[in-house]
């Protein structure tokens, strides 16, 4: 009877150990490929190599910032340009400065074009200053003034009517200082018109 009991107990232990063994075989190994999650965020270009990829495994998720080129925000439509900059969370004052730089570059180029004839024939025009004042149907001064007005409208359309007020202390405050403290030089009878 004693031997029978031992035999029964031994066989029961065998069954239990076999069960535990099968369970362990089926259980995944910790740190194995199925449980890996990779999440690297960097502003620089990163080469990432999967450590173990011998057997087919679920793909590694890698979060990287999109490459940026200025052409993605630049637009000939200034309002769209500003909107594109807002989209990438560009600060308000920088949007204003970018649009101002774009508009001013165009303004200076167009103003230069108005004075093209003067630049090309400056000294000849000085020999006949009455011709200096004439510039076809419109005079240079009026055209330049009109250009400034157009530029101001473009800025308002792109940045809103209060763009100057929203600009903060610089450069608007300096602009006011400049207007109040500097007076144009007097150049006698020779008027640029």
């Amino acid at each position: 009877m004693n031997r029978g009991f031992l035999l029964m107990a031994s066989m029961a232990l065998n069954v239990a150990l076999a069960g535990v063994g099968i369970g362990l075989v089926k259980r995944p190994v910790p740190g194995g490929p199925a449980s890996r999650v990779l999440n690297i965020v960097t502003s620089r270009s990163v080469r990432v190599v999967a450590a173990v990829a011998v057997t087919p495994t679920p793909p590694v998720m890698l979060s990287v910032p999109a490459a940026f080129d200025w052409s993605q925000v630049a637009s000939t439509n200034l309002a769209q340009y500003a909107a594109n900059l807002r989209e990438i969370e560009c600060p308000k004052e920088i949007i204003r400065e970018v649009i101002l730089a774009v508009v001013n570059e165009d303004f200076v180029r167009r103003r230069h074009a108005i004075f093209e004839r003067i630049h090309a024939q400056f000294w000849e025009l000085m020999a006949q200053p009455e011709h200096f004042k004439q510039d076809g149907d419109e005079n240079t001064e009026d055209r330049s003034k009109q250009l400034r007005t157009t530029r101001d409208h473009e800025l308002e359309a792109a940045l809103g009517t209060n763009w100057q007020r929203d600009a903060g202390p610089s450069p608007l405050s300096a602009m006011c200082r400049c207007q109040s403290s500097v007076t144009p030089p007097k150049y006698g009878s020779l008027q640029i018109s």
């Binding site: 031994s10 502003s43 000085m126 020999a127 450069p171």
Partner: protein
Amino acid sequence: MRSHPLHLQAGRRARGVLLGSAGLNLLLLAAVLGLAKIHLAKPPPSPARTAVGSEVSQVPEAAPSELDAVVTNQLPFRWAQLESEDFRIYIANLRAARCPERIIHDLVFHDLERLYETKKAALPCPDLFWESGRVREAARQETDKRSRQMELEKRAVMRDLLGVWWSNEAWDFWYDQGWADIAETLVGFLTNEQVLEAVTVYFDMQEASSNLGQECELCSETDERARQETAYQHMVNSFAEIMSPAEFEEMALRICLMDQDLVKDSSQSEFRFRNGTEVRDFVKLVNRFKPFFSKEFLGNQDEDESRKAQFQSEMKKFFGEDRFAAFERSQNAGYQEIWQFGQEQHLPPETVLRAWQVREAAEKEFGHLSERTDLLLAEKAAAWIEVRQQTQTALAALLGATAGAEYLKKHCDWLKASPANPGGKS
């Protein structure tokens, strides 16, 4: 032979089964322990978040099949990724993103403006209302000096970062002031950056000139002149650094031409330059004696007589006797007035010239009368009236009844002047 009993044989068989089962127990236990060891071992370390940039890029190149297992999730680009506390990195990031250079210049310029506005605002600016005016003025000058140093520092930083520099004042002027058209005419042949730098030097010159005036209140005339000339030379050197010698000469001549108001249109004078080359050559001559901006910077100081005579002589040589006389007349406001009147009345140039000579003669006579000390006041007044009447008669005869009356009515304030009597008898 003796035979074993049956129960003894069964007992031996049961013992064998028990031993077999115990052996299997041991084998299974070993297998379970082995598996458990694998599962209880520490997992390998996961990739760290700091493994970025150069550290990661040192990983050897992977086989294509390995890279196929990586799926990238693109995060949307944000402006903050371009920004940096370090201006050089910020600029490099903007350039890498192919931001136009012109925009980079303006962004850095405005950033520096903000930075230095803050620094300037932090400067101590004591009220010192209880102190004497002299102490307050000294404190104000000290604040101005520091502010100026910051301005120069800001420009140096900008130049170091971008290779260009300008002041906020110049930027506002060039883009926003109506009279920037004058600058466009004078220096529009330069690049935009050169213009901004040249305008900065111009405003510096104005400030320096004003400061010299304040500093030299108690200076001797010689000392003041020396200081002005040093400051003027400094300005000239600053301009010369911005542009090529040819550009500098062109700018200087254009400024000199406007500064000295050397050309008059046909409504003001009969004098005509023959062509553009003559104008330029003449301005070159003038610029030698009256350099550009010298009027603004050095004031209308009397030249020494020998230099004045040399200038006159060179101009006479340049134009010839007759044309020089016409040029000299064209610079006279009184002659311009009578010439303009002649144009309106369609008078021949010879008539205008003779009318001008009548006026010149009358003014000369009035001058003599004013200086005479031998006449009584009543005698001087009578002589004055006589000259006036003779002049009126001569002008009326010369210009004709209608034009003469018109001229005497509207353009003869100079003739109505009363005699001065500084040393005359009472």
